[in-house]
């Protein structure tokens, strides 16, 4: 995925990040890999988009961060959903579903 596409879907990126952290804490690279995984390879998020998004979500209060150890015992910054973040995830999921349904209906019409 090119940089241009990612900026168009900034809101989508936020939702993907929140979703990816729903199962548990991840570090930055982990978030990127998880998104790749749950979208079946459709979206590859580059650091240039990932880092600003993670920091923005943290400043908004939806993520919290802490330093921990990776599998290879490398120090990395881990992110987790806050309570507000979880609530925001539900809200945005519902919103996205509504939009997707509306778009599908619109495009199916002749």
């Amino acid at each position: 995925m090119s940089t241009k596409q990612t900026t168009l879907l900034q809101g989508t990126l936020d939702l993907l990040i929140l979703k990816s952290l729903g199962a548990g804490d991840l570090h930055g690279l982990g978030v990127s890999r998880r998104i790749e995984q749950i979208t079946h390879g459709a979206f590859l998020v580059k650091p240039g988009s990932l880092f600003p998004a993670l920091h923005r979500l943290e400043e908004a209060g939806w993520l919290s961060s802490s330093w921990g150890e990776s599998e290879n015992r490398r120090r990395a910054k881990f992110y987790r959903l806050t309570k507000a973040g979880r609530a925001q995830l539900d809200v945005e999921t519902e919103e996205w579903t509504r939009i997707a349904l509306a778009m599908t209906n619109a495009l199916a019409a002749s």
């Binding site: 570090h27 690279l29 650091p47 240039g48 880092f51 600003p52 400043e59 209060g61 990395a76 507000a84």
Partner: protein, 882 residues
């Protein structure tokens, strides 16, 4: 939640920047490391993995920068960077920065000082409870002689008001005058105000100790009571609580102290102690000598009050219409604050206008300066734009620099304003302003801040607009941008400044001529070598005419014994002071029965000689004019002209049996009969002090204290002490209060005019200075900008003089246009000053001519001086400089 989190983030990002950066750096490094770990796990070598990871990551610094750009508080940080950059720029150009700050400080300071006055006089509420419920009663006359003014009321009107206006709490005061207060062996001249029963209630002031007057004490011949001000209680009685209920010796009689007022309490009459007015329809109440103030009771409205007042005085209104056919009188109430500041308001507003002019002139200067600076920085701007800055970013930078200058200038301006205000207040005589103090409060500071922001917008706006039209290529390559458009703009600014300066200079010129006219009015006597002092005869000891006569005789005789004193006399009022007026009836000849008003002044026989007033016909008074001889009088020329058509008044009779024995020259007095010039000649009748009757004596000294005056052959050491001692031999318990020369009395009477001249003159001078600075800097810039062009011209054969003329021409043209515009503006603007001018017309030729000549000369020099630098230009050198 989101907002709180953001605020916390902003704070963290701004104040713990290093920590945040370290974290980001560590996070990025960790990411790259993890990426490399993945690749190593997939089989790459460590070195390969690291290289691949870095390549896949992309530009580290760029990623970090995108994070920084989107961070909370990023915008603020940018602004802060602009501020630091701007400060450095300003610091490196001390000449420009200093000029701007000084210009701003002076002009904003002037505005701050004047606005403090406006604030204290008109915007701040009076220091009483619910001041909007306090009012004064005005009288509107329609028909011939229409007027709207606050007039005094007499005893009859007072009683009608008091008894028939339940919507109001009403009170009257009889004025403030000097009285003798004896405490122990010490006698002092203090200021006493006579107030009616509910005066303090109208002001909502409650005595700190004791009580207000009781109804008995405010009835004629009621018990004598006094209320002390805090200052007097502290100063004379040492804050002794026991003085309450005791008697003090006031005006020669025992008064019981019934109350003491709280500290820092101001009343409209501003006195040191208060006694009950005891109003009636006789005596004082026989004339319109009371001043009324009222307070609306709860639940009543001003319409109710006005209706009640008109009903209460309807009989009087009808009488008025009968006496003056075609005229009608109605009464209405105005808020007290408006009434008290009525005379000062137009003058203060005029001053605000002048201060506004100065600010505009300052902004014009600053706009010109900033424009030049902008042009000089065009290469820098062009470079920044080439590097990717947007026009908005460039403009933001300039706006921030202007804002910095304006804020610093405004802050210094507050300091300047405080100093100016203090100086101004020192100039004013005591009790000139109807307010107790002029503070620098929040409203004034807010005004100053707003003004600073406004000026920064004004002088920043014009040049900032030109930043948009910077042509990249030519700006980077050439060092000097021609900027023809900017020259036109600067010329327009100069013309505007000069126009405003012309108006200010003309206005102050007219005021100066008015003051000179008033001060040099033929006095009618010789004011040099005279010393005067007042003593209070509002004292039961001097109600008896015999005692009164003895006092005058003994004191004048004692004064004449002082070595160096040529003559001494006593008069009820002196020239330059306000005289008492009364009715007079002509009693003989064809004018018999005619009535009129005249000033009345009693004098001792030596008066005309002491003042060196020429006696034009008949004689002056002698010791022979005593209490049992023919009642005589001396009138002045104005009296003769008004009542006898200029014929000699000697030998005529007035007021039944008073014989006019002499005619003297007119002297200037502070106008009391008519609303006119502050100093004018009024018709006056002089009577011998020895022939004043008891009733008149008692009444007159309630309002006015007489003056003792001596003429000396030269300045005398310790004259005032000698005068005090001489008076003590005549009566040891009668102190003199305040010694003044005639010059000082004149200055007191003309205080308003002097202050007008001082203030407006100072502002006109400031405006002139600013304009001169503006013109010189314009020409200096032109010389600097066009150095190459001049070099070329001179190389091609032009002389230095021709070059000077060519360069100076734009400035001269702008100045000439400004002068013309200013003169045109005067035609309209000066008309508002009509009421302030005496002895000089609004379109006074000499004044306008002087202004034009002065400005032409000054601007000529301002234009010529900078052009002298052209002489130092070496054509060969300038051509070589590329």
């Amino acid at each position: 939640m989101k907002l709180l989190s953001r605020i916390a983030s902003v704070v963290r990002n701004l104040f713990r920047k290093e920590h945040v950066e370290d974290q980001l750096d560590a996070e990025v490094k960790a990411y790259v490391g993890l990426l490399a770990d993945e690749k190593i796990a997939a089989g790459m070598s460590e070195r390969e993995a690291r290289r691949a990871a870095h390549a896949e990551f992309g530009g580290v610094e760029q990623v970090k920068q995108t994070v920084r750009d989107r961070r909370a508080g990023a915008g603020l940080e940018l602004v802060w960077q602009d501020v630091r950059f701007g400060s450095r720029q300003l610091w490196r150009n001390p000449g420009f920065t200093a000029t701007v700050i000084v210009t701003l400080a002076l002009s904003i300071g002037a505005n701050t000082a004047i606005f403090s006055l406006v604030n204290a006089l008109m915007l701040k509420s009076l220091p009483y409870a619910q001041p909007e419920r306090m009012g004064a009663i005005y009288q509107r006359v329609t028909g011939p002689g229409a007027s709207e003014q606050r007039t005094g009321i007499d005893g009859e009107k007072w009683e009608l008001l008091r008894d028939n206006a339940p919507a109001l709490i009403s009170a009257v005061s009889g004025g403030t005058s000097g009285v003798n207060l004896q405490s122990g062996s010490r006698v002092q001249y203090v200021h006493n105000a006579r107030i009616s029963l509910h005066y303090l209630d109208v002001l909502a002031i409650h005595p700190l100790f004791g009580r207000n007057f009781s109804p008995e004490e405010d009835r004629p011949h009621g018990p004598k009571a006094a209320i002390l001000s805090y200052g007097l209680w502290h100063g004379v009685f040492n804050s002794d609580r026991n003085i309450l209920g005791q008697s003090i010796l006031l005006k020669g009689e025992a008064y019981s102290v019934v109350g003491i007022l709280p500290e820092n309490v101001a009343t409209p009459v501003n006195a040191e102690l208060y006694t009950a007015l005891q109003p009636s329809r006789e005596g004082e109440g026989g004339g319109t000598n009371f001043e009324a103030i009222v307070r609306l009771r709860d639940g009543a409205s001003w319409q109710d009050a006005d209706a009640e007042i008109n009903r209460a005085w309807s009989a009087r209104a009808q009488r008025f219409s009968k006496n003056s056919p075609g005229s009608r009188v109605t009464y209405y109430s105005l808020p007290l604050q408006k009434a008290q500041t009525a005379t000062l308001r137009p003058q203060v507003l005029a001053l605000m206008l002048a201060a506004g002019f100065i600010l505009l002139i300052a902004c014009a200067n600053l706009a010109g300066l900033t424009l030049v600076r902008m042009i000089r920085r065009a290469p820098e701007v062009a470079t920044r734009m080439a590097l990717g800055a947007s026009p908005w970013q460039i403009q933001k930078q300039f706006w921030i620099e202007n804002l910095l200058l304006a804020l610093v200038g405004g802050t210094v301006g507050v300091g300047v304003g405080v100093v100016a205000l203090r100086g101004l207040l020192m100039l004013l005589p005591e009790h000139f302003l109807p307010v107790a103090s002029v503070p620098l409060d929040g409203r004034v500071l807010g005004f100053t801040l707003m003004l600073s922001l406004l000026t920064s917008a004004l002088f920043g706006m014009l040049p900032a607009l030109t930043a948009r039209r910077v042509d990249l290529r030519s700006s980077v390559s050439s060092r000097a941008v021609a900027g023809a458009g900017s020259l036109r703009l600067r010329q327009a600014l100069i013309a505007g400044e000069l126009a405003l300066t012309v108006v200010l200079l003309a206005a102050s010129g007219l005021l100066i001529r008015t003051l000179v006219h008033l001060e040099t009015l033929a006095p009618g006597f010789n004011p040099n070598g005279l010393m005067t002092a007042k003593a209070s005869l509002d004292d039961v000891r001097f109600h008896d005419p015999a005692n009164f006569r003895n006092l005058l005789d003994a004191s004048t005789a004692a004064l004449q014994q002082i070595p160096g004193v040529q003559s001494a006399a006593v008069a009820l009022t002196l020239p330059y002071e306000r005289a008492i007026n009364d009715e007079v009836t002509l009693s003989d000849g064809k004018e018999s029965g005619q009535e009129g008003i005249t000033d009345v002044i009693y004098v001792t026989p030596g008066f005309f000689e002491t003042l060196q007033m020429p006696v034009m016909a008949g004689r002056a008074f002698t010791d022979a004019d005593g209490s049992n001889t023919q009642h005589v009088a001396v009138v002045n020329r104005a009296f003769a002209r008004k009542f006898y058509g200029g014929a000699s008044p000697v030998g005529r009779y007035v007021n039944k049996d008073t014989l006019i024995v002499g005619e003297v020259a007119d002297v200037s007095v502070s106008s009391g009969m008519y609303e006119g010039a502050p100093l004018m000649s009024e018709q006056a009748i002089y009577v011998p002090a020895a022939q004043v009757n008891a009733h008149f004596l008692e009444l007159i000294h309630i309002w006015v204290q007489p003056d003792w005056v001596v003429r000396t052959s030269g300045p005398i050491e310790g004259l005032t002490e000698s005068m005090q001692k001489a008076m003590a031999t005549a009566d040891p318990n009668l102190p003199f209060s305040g010694f003044s020369s005639m010059k000082e009395i004149l200055a007191q009477t003309l205080a308003t005019q002097r202050i007008e001249v001082a203030l407006l003159g100072a502002m006109a001078a400031l405006a002139l200075l600013l304009s001169v600075v503006g013109i010189s800097s314009l020409v200096a810039n032109l010389v600097a900008q066009r150095t190459r062009e001049i070099g070329i011209r001179m190389a091609l054969g032009s002389t230095v003089r021709q070059a000077m003329v060519h360069i100076g021409a734009p400035a001269v043209r702008a100045s000439a246009l400004g002068l013309l515009l200013g003169l045109a503006a005067c035609a309209g603007a000066l008309r508002v000053m009509r009421n302030l001018l005496y002895g000089v017309g609004v379109y006074d030729g000499p004044t306008l001519l002087t202004v034009v000549l002065v400005l032409a000369a000054v601007t000529g020099i301002a234009t010529a001086l900078p052009t002298l630098r052209i002489a130092g230009i070496d054509p060969a050198k300038t051509l070589r400089d590329e």
